[in-house]
Structure formats: C-alpha cells, structure tokens
C-alpha cells in the first residue's frame, strides 16, 4: 500500500518535473538561445531597422543596467552580402561582445561545428546553419562580406568561418553572420552606438512585467520590450502548451487520485474485521475513526517520503542529464521559427515537488472518510464476521 502510493507520488514528481522542464526549456529556447529576456532599442528601430537608428551613450546605458543587477549585451546589426565559392547570399551582419553575450544568451553553446567567437581571432566569424549550406561553407573556409558602411562607402573584407551554428531561428539560420563587435565597427565604420541591448534578469522573483517596467525606468528614452512582446507567437505557443499540459496534469492527477482512493479503500476494508474486534473491546467510534485517520496519514507520510526520496534524485539527475531526443529530429526542430533544443531537462521546482505530494495527501485523506466512517459505525459482531 505504502509502496504503491509512494510509487504513484514518485511518478507524479518525476512527471511534474518533466513538464516543468519542458515548458521551461521552451521558454529558455525562446529567450536564452538568442533574443534575451528583454531588449532595448532606440524608439524607431524596431519599426524600421535602420543602420543609423542607434542607442547612443551605450557604455553609460550598459553600466546603469549592470549596476542594477541586469546582465546586458550590446549588439550591432547591418545588412550585406556574403560571397564564397562563386555564390553569394544576402546576410544579416551581427556584431556582438562575446564576453557580455555569454551572460545573457547561450548561443555560444549551440555550435554545429567549429568554435564560437573569440577576441583573439578578429577574422573569425560564425555563420548560420542554412547560410553555411547555401554557400557550401565549412569551418576554415574564407568568406567575403560586402556591405555599405556607415559612411556610405563600400565595406568589404575577407573573413574566415570559425564556427557554424546549430538551428537558432529562421533569420539566423538563413542569414546570420556573427562578428566581434570591434570587427563589425571597423568594417561598417560605426565608431559608437549600438542597435540593440539584450538583457537577462538576475532572478525570477519579479514578474516579466515588473522587470520590464524597472528596465524602462532605467532607460526612459529607449524602447524596452520583453520576450513575450518580442516573440508573441512563441509566447502563445508556450501558453497553449501550458494549458494543454495543465489539462494533462489534471487528468494524470485524477488517475493517481483514483489509484490512491482504491488503495485506501481496500486498506481499510480489509481490516474491518480487526476494527470490529477492537470495537468489541470497547473502543469508541471516534477513536476508531481517528485511529484509521492517523494510520492512513502516517502511511501517506511514509509514501511521500518514499516518493520524495525516489522522485527528487531522479528528477535532479535528469536536470543535469537531459533526455537526448536529438536522434529523433533528423536535422532540427522548431516552434514558430525558434529552434527547439531536443534535450529534455527535468526542472525540480518547488511546485513540481509539492503539488504531487499535496494531491497525494488530500486524495488519501478524502478517500478514507467513507471506509473509516463505516468502520467506526460498524456493529462489533458484524465487523468480526465481516467476510
């Protein structure tokens, strides 16, 4: 009995942790992969991403954000052309500061081949997956980048492919070329200013909206958007998943509830004979009821301990050793253009651990009311002869 309940609790904890992990991973993919949780732009930039619509005094802005606990990464963008092996493709040039970027996103971890940007290698660039395919690029290949620089001149320079990214999102896959920010500035003749600052909040204690407001207060003249506003489609997909997963969870909990009910009912009914004897010895009904209640409670507590003892370590294990579904997705998988990391992590949140235990306890205690009442009110003789 305890074993069965403990097992149920264990499965529920693991299940809940997997669910949390799934939602969290999707959310992470939406933010940590590339966009960051928040982005700051010059007011008109998002409507018309012009090379000259920049955030000025970026050093001051970055410092202010960092002083308030936010990790912030500056980014520069430009459009141009990349040519290699006799073919050419339109590209989006992205100038970033790898040291700061690392604190905001995890794009540096999503390389298909080669290495991520490094300050020691100014000629090295990292390109998107489909772009590499379209141009037939492999790590080490030369790449000519052509663009119109900030002073109207022809920007063109020879680079070397340092790394090829895994699927990140549609835009990066097809056209992203990453440069060190100083390399980008030199090529594009843009001595100062940035187009975008991506931000990661230090903790989850505030809501997204609160953080957005707080950042807005720090940079009153700039436009601040959180990832839900930046990627409404992804936000909606996640919402939708959340609702359907919630539905699944409710149904699963009900199934566990029925099992527990079953177990508790059987457990009490089986011992009705015993209770009859106790009652014949003169124990009053309310004591019998409490006896059953306390016993059941202890059982559930034991079961919970088993559940926690088994469920938490397993979930924690899968928190660091994700289920690898890479083999299932032949090349990549994406939701609304955002690549999906085919690694399934557990996430051991308080909710994922407490909810199943609470459900278990509530169901168990509810389910003994009927048999315990019955046992308490039973006539001693009938009870002794019960089956």
């Amino acid at each position: 009995m305890i074993g069965a309940m403990g097992f149920a609790g264990f499965i529920m904890i693991f299940y809940a942790a997997l669910m949390e992990g799934l939602l969290h991973t999707t959310e992470q993919n939406a933010t940590v992969m590339e966009s960051g949780q928040f982005q700051v732009h010059a007011p008109e930039y998002r409507d018309d991403p012009d090379l000259y619509t920049m955030i000025t005094q970026e050093v001051e802005v970055l410092n202010r954000l960092q002083a308030n606990g936010y990790q912030a990464a500056p980014r520069l963008f430009g459009v141009g052309l990349a040519a290699a092996h006799a073919s050419s493709v339109g590209i989006m040039l992205r100038g970033i500061d790898p040291d700061r970027e690392r604190l905001v996103t995890e794009i540096h971890r999503h390389l298909l081949a080669g290495k991520w940007l490094n300050g020691d290698d100014p000629e090295g660039v990292v390109v998107g997956r489909r772009l590499a395919k379209a141009l037939g690029l492999v790590v080490g290949d030369e790449l000519v980048v052509v663009s119109q620089a900030g002073d109207g001149s022809m920007a063109n320079e020879l680079y070397r492919v340092r790394g090829v990214l895994k699927s990140i999102n549609e835009s990066i896959d097809r056209s992203g070329v990453f440069f060190l920010d100083e390399v980008f500035r030199k090529l594009m003749v843009l001595p100062d200013g940035v187009h975008e600052i991506a931000i990661r909040s230090p903790d989850d204690t505030y809501s997204l909206a609160d953080h957005t407001q707080q950042i807005q207060n720090l940079v009153p003249d700039l436009e601040v958007k959180n990832w839900r506003e930046l990627q409404p489609v992804v936000a909606r997909v996640i919402d939708m998943s959340r609702y359907s997963l919630l539905l699944m969870l409710v149904i699963t909990y009900s199934a566990v509830g029925i099992l527990t009910l079953n177990g508790m009912l059987m457990g009490v009914f089986e011992r009705i004979h015993e209770f009859g004897v106790v009652k014949a010895l003169g124990v009053p009904p309310w004591q019998i009821f409490s006896l059953i209640a306390i016993e059941s409670f202890l059982q559930v507590v034991f079961a919970s301990i088993i559940a926690l003892a088994a469920g938490i370590p397993l979930s924690l294990y899968f928190e660091t050793h994700p289920l690898d579904l890479t083999g299932l997705a032949s090349s990549s998988a994406s939701i609304a253009g955002i690549a999906l990391d085919p690694l399934w992590y557990c996430r051991v949140s308080v909710k994922a651990v407490v909810d199943p235990i609470v459900v278990l306890m509530v169901v168990a205690m509810l389910s003994i009311i009927y048999p315990a009442t019955k046992a308490a009110l039973l006539k001693p003789l009938a009870a002794i002869h019960h089956r």
């Binding site: 459009v79 050419s88 900030g150 109207g152 001149s153 022809m154």
Partner: protein, 261 residues
C-alpha cells in the same frame, strides 16, 4: 529570406541614369507624336552616347548620415557593355563594376573578389547613392517598356522647351507610373526629368545643369537626383571629362579586365 540589400556597388550609374532618360526607343509604333518624340529622344541619345565613350565623373552624395565624394572612370561600348572603376577615395580605389548584357559583376580589390549581382540585391543603394542597382539594370529595357509622347511644347520660365511624357506599356516590368522629361527645344538638351509612382505622386527629381562643351559636344556636366521624401538629400554627378568614339574592344568588358588595376 531576402534582406533589403543596400549597398552593393555596381556599375555604371552614368549609363543608367542617362539612358533611363534618353534611351533610344528604337521600335516603331503609331502616333505622329510618338514618332516625333522618338526621333528627338534618339538625337539626345546620340548626343550622349556614341558607339563608345570614356569619361571621368565625380559623384557627390549627401544624406542625413554622411556625405561622400567618389571619382570614377567609365567606359561604354554600345548599349550592352559598360565598365566603371573608382579612382578615389583611396579606400575604395579599384572597385569596379562591369555590365555585360543582362549580367552585372562587381570587383572588390580589397578582397580580390568578383561578385555577380543577384535578384535579392536589386533594390539596394548603388555606391551609397540615391540610385538603386535596379536603376542600373533596367536601362536597356527602357526602350521596350515606355511609350513616349509630347506633352508640352512652348515657353516655360523664359525658355523654349519640349516636355515628353513616358507612360509604361501595360505589361512592362517597370516600377514607375510615369516619367516626364523636359528638354530645351532648340538643342534637345535635357533640363529635368521627373519620376512618378503608379499613383502619379512624384518620387524623385533629376535636374541637369552646367551646360559645357566636352568631347566636342555641348552637354550638361552636372546632374542631381533628389528623392521627394528626403528633400535635403541628393546625389550629384559631375562630368570632369568625356570622350566619344574611343577604341575599346569588346574584350575590354571582360572579367579579366574588371580585375585589372
């Protein structure tokens, strides 16, 4: 997806700009007006572009974000071939654009690469100017695409002028809704051309000035393009020198030649 590719330098703006305006519209259609218009436009075209030419041009670009001045050399042969090579500034020296029929290449000396223009780059700015690459490519088709007629003939601002209205043919793949060209009545020298969109709103204005004698002809040495949306910006072309009838062989307009410094 295709990006809005500005900034790939190409060619031979001269030829484009000019022939946009004065392309010889060589085939016959009906009205007397049209016949006359074609005749005059042919004359203008001859004025500018003999079988071959060699010229030096300075381009001045003024935008809200930068000003720049570029000097370049330009060769043409017939309607199909042209080659432009930048002489200054030093940073861009040697950058060259070759137009051969429908194909356009750009040579980048800094990286020693030649790039062929693709459809995605068509609407990009040429050399940071107010011309698009598309402007350069489209010229040869101007003749096929528009029907000219004389819209006005008489005095305007104290000068005797002719005003031609070019309407695109119904199925012509051109972006303009109408082009209006004003020339001096006695010399057929161009004064101004106006480009309208399909709703017949003015989109850009090209004015011609500084009529001087060059290469044995009288020509407007200065040409200025002003986009209607940004009236403070402009691109100006100034002819330093032009010679006609120079001997340039077809082989001159080759990829090998393009790379030659």
């Amino acid at each position: 997806m295709n990006l809005k590719l500005n900034h790939v330098a190409f060619l031979l703006f001269l030829m484009v700009v000019l022939s946009l305006t004065w392309a010889s519209m060589s085939f016959a259609t009906t009205t007397d007006d049209e016949v006359r218009a074609r005749l005059i436009l042919d004359l203008i075209d001859d004025l500018w572009r003999a079988d071959s030419s060699e010229s030096t041009v300075t381009m001045r670009v003024v935008t809200a974000n930068y000003r720049r001045t570029v000097t370049m050399q330009n060769w043409t042969l017939g309607k199909n071939y042209s080659l432009v090579r930048i002489v200054s500034p030093q940073k861009e020296k040697g950058t060259a654009t070759l137009k051969s029929g429908n194909v356009i290449y750009t040579y980048l000396p800094k990286t020693d690469r030649t790039i062929r223009l693709t459809s995605g780059m068509m609407m990009g700015s040429w050399m940071g100017s107010h011309f698009t690459n598309d402007d350069l490519v489209k010229e040869s088709r101007m003749a096929d695409d528009y029907i000219p007629r004389l819209g006005f003939e008489g005095d305007r601002e104290g000068r005797s002028i002719l005003e031609f209205i070019l309407e695109p043919k119904p199925e012509a793949p051109v972006v303009w809704g109408r082009v209006v060209i004003t020339v001096l009545a006695e010399s057929y020298l161009p004064l101004v051309s106006l480009y309208y969109d399909e709703d017949l709103s003015l989109v850009r204005t090209v004015t011609f000035s500084d009529f001087v004698e060059m290469g044995g002809r009288t020509l407007p040495a200065r040409l200025r393009v002003v986009p209607t949306e940004e009236p403070d910006e402009y691109t100006e072309l100034i002819y330093e020198d032009i010679r006609f009838g120079v001997l340039v062989p077809e082989s001159f307009f080759s990829l090998q030649q393009l790379r030659r410094q």
